[in-house]
């Protein structure tokens, strides 16, 4: 189905570790129903989940806009959180500002952004301190 197109929008609640990841979970199950290859679904799920968790932990929540085509998915994550002062530093594996209580929950390894870059075919991040952060990712199927 060459003209298949699905648009989904999710509100991601800030600082809620019980719901964190539910948007990624929903996208994963949509792709599964569409019959996308499981290795592609996994890349989408991991990249989006990392981005979703970042909005929960670091930005007080945000929105996820997802456009699914027959051959690719575009994911846009937008928040109005505190923003990132030094993007180059933030992209480095191991760099994290996660507070201790977040680390006790298993986050703050500083691997989220590097993982997103690794699993997405196209990765773009824009951020402004005091304004917010926007992450755009594309993953091609097959």
């Amino acid at each position: 189905m060459a003209n298949q197109f699905i648009h989904q929008e999710y509100l991601v609640a800030g600082n809620n570790f019980n719901s964190a990841g539910s948007a990624s979970e929903a996208v994963k199950s949509t792709l599964k129903k569409m019959g996308v290859a499981s290795s592609d679904i996994r890349r989408v799920a991991i990249a989006m989940y990392e981005g979703e968790i970042n909005m929960v932990i670091h930005a007080g929540g945000g929105i996820a806009l997802v456009d699914i085509y027959y051959d690719k998915i575009n994911i846009l994550l937008n928040d109005k959180g505190k923003g990132i002062a030094d993007l180059e530093k933030a992209m480095q594996p191991g760099y994290s500002t996660a507070p201790e209580e977040v680390q006790r929950l298993g986050f703050g390894a500083g691997m989220g952004l590097p993982n997103m870059k690794k699993y997405a075919d196209v990765f773009d991040i824009q951020s402004e301190v005091g304004v917010g952060t926007t992450v755009k990712m594309t993953i091609y199927f097959g």
Partner: protein, 112 residues
């Protein structure tokens, strides 16, 4: 090895989805940091962790991991169990620590 065999190697208890305990697992990853887990794709892998919160199940779900081993005698609460049950993920608990759990399962043939 089957999940039921894995559980026996570490004197474990299968706390949910016991009907899926004859699934085969081949590899494992031990960590308390979820992004470390998300950095490496495992096939038919097991997540060994000392954490107990819903994110261990969500992380496993994103990775297609079908078995989580919770070490150091911790007990996952009802919310974690029901999320795992809904997604067909088997949770095994053990009193052993992460080092001994990993060592026993590695010796028994699980791949790194």
């Amino acid at each position: 090895m089957k999940i039921s065999e894995l559980s026996a190697y570490i004197d474990g208890t299968i706390v949910c989805n016991a009907d899926k305990a004859d699934k085969e697992v081949y590899s494992a990853f031990s960590s308390d940091m979820m992004s470390d887990v998300l950095a490496f794709v495992l096939d038919q892998g097991v997540l060994i962790t000392g954490l107990i919160n819903p994110q261990i199940v969500r992380t496993a779900l994103m990775m297609d991991i079908e078995c989580i081993v919770v070490v150091r005698g911790k007990t996952p609460d009802a919310a974690i169990i029901s999320l795992a049950e809904a997604n067909g993920i088997v949770i095994v608990t053990t009193k052993k620590n992460m080092f001994e759990t990993s060592g026993r399962l590695y010796s028994a043939g699980l791949k790194a």
